[in-house]
Symmetry: C2
Subunit: 239 residues, 2 copies
């Protein structure tokens, strides 16, 4: 089966969490909105619906299924491609971690859009400075410490995994969070990484996986930029 | 099995989405943090962990499982108590809707906390006014129109259900969203409800269910207040 991923073609954004899972799984997929006419096709699908229309991208066509919401897509892919434990308890725990990563991601996004996603950053710059400072001072360290503690408590993972002894989609997503924070807030991240070394070691283990390394070096990996969720605005970063 | 729900005892908050599912299911449960010493017990569980520690409440003890993240808890309860279709496609679709409700809820919360959840409303009142205006102008109508269209497209639900011909946890949660918005933004909601009558009809069908009606009339239902996610600050509401 060839998957069809629908997500904005110019940014990593939420779609990147799905791309990483598809790449690690070695799955056959089209990144539709990066093809000519693909964005129009995506917009038409969102407007006309599909039986299971999405409020926003990403969504994934998998045979007859059309699945929306990043964490929901990863729940599905986790089952199909061995990216989560097979037991209900293990699947729920991995999904719980993925949903906590989703929460973290919203707060990362809102550092540059605290007033509204419909306004430009330039129109909410003052509020962004306040929100980013609060985020870097209290929220980001709290989230990172949480994931750090989960890795540390999971002895079977040997510092490489959040869940059990094997890779899961939660590891892939934590990799992306660390990678994105390094791009967006390099100064603050240097400080924060020191306090959450186990979260960073999961990142490093993911980066070293052959399929992920090949993907990151390929043109399929869209570079970070100031249109995505992780944005580097020097005025929002701090030591 | 007697469930143990862990959530702040003074507010509806995210825990209310779980309470509504437990009540509709007629499940036996303890609302632990509303019992003497319960909040301390909850905090200890969060600090010491449990194998599957939560970043934040709510979390649910279900036999040997300890499940965190509202939507994840509802995924689990949906299976156990027939609050979601049994097919994988139906379960994923219901969960997708629930995750979109979670996204909506974050934006509702951030109308009074646009800068940070660690600061008081009074310290971010100016920013709240801007964010709430943007929310009521563009975001809330967009979310409501989405759910309205889903209800309308689902002919089997006859205006009473988001998914198929039967009640799901997504219906219960949409009820709570409408109820909360009416409390928080009565003026704006009068205008918005007119444009999303099908979303409102799901609300009404849920309110009329005997177990839900009995719950809402009981002391187990904590009244809305200005400590929760839905807060009524007249200065944030608008026609």
């Amino acid at each position: 089966m060839r998957y069809e991923l629908y997500y904005w073609g110019e940014i990593q954004g939420r779609g990147e969490f799905v791309r990483l899972a598809l790449e690690e799984a070695g799955a056959d997929y089209r990144d539709v909105a990066r093809e000519p006419g693909g964005t129009d096709k995506m917009m038409r699908l969102m407007e006309r619906g599909s039986g299971t229309p999405s409020f926003a991208p990403p969504f994934l066509k998998a045979g007859k299924l059309m699945i929306g919401q990043t964490a929901n897509i990863l729940l599905y892919l986790g089952r199909r491609h061995d990216l989560a434990p097979k037991t209900e308890a293990g699947e729920l725990w991995t999904h719980q971690l993925q949903l906590t990563i989703s929460d973290f991601l919203v707060e990362i996004h809102d550092t540059h859009h605290p007033i509204g996603s419909g306004l430009y950053y330039e129109d909410q710059k003052k509020e962004s400075k306040r929100r980013a400072a609060e985020f870097l001072e209290s929220r980001a360290p709290k989230f990172l410490a949480y994931f750090d503690a989960v890795v540390q408590a999971n002895r079977a993972g040997k510092g490489k995994h959040l869940v059990g002894a094997r890779l899961s989609h939660a590891d892939l997503s934590l990799f992306q969070i660390v990678e994105g924070l390094r791009y967006a807030f390099p100064k603050a991240m240097r400080r924060m990484e020191k306090r959450s070394p186990h979260a960073v070691s999961v990142h490093d283990a993911v980066a070293a996986r052959p399929k992920i390394a090949a993907y990151l070096a390929s043109p399929r990996r869209i570079p970070f930029n100031t249109m995505g969720i992780f944005r580097h605005y020097p005025e929002l970063d701090s030591e």
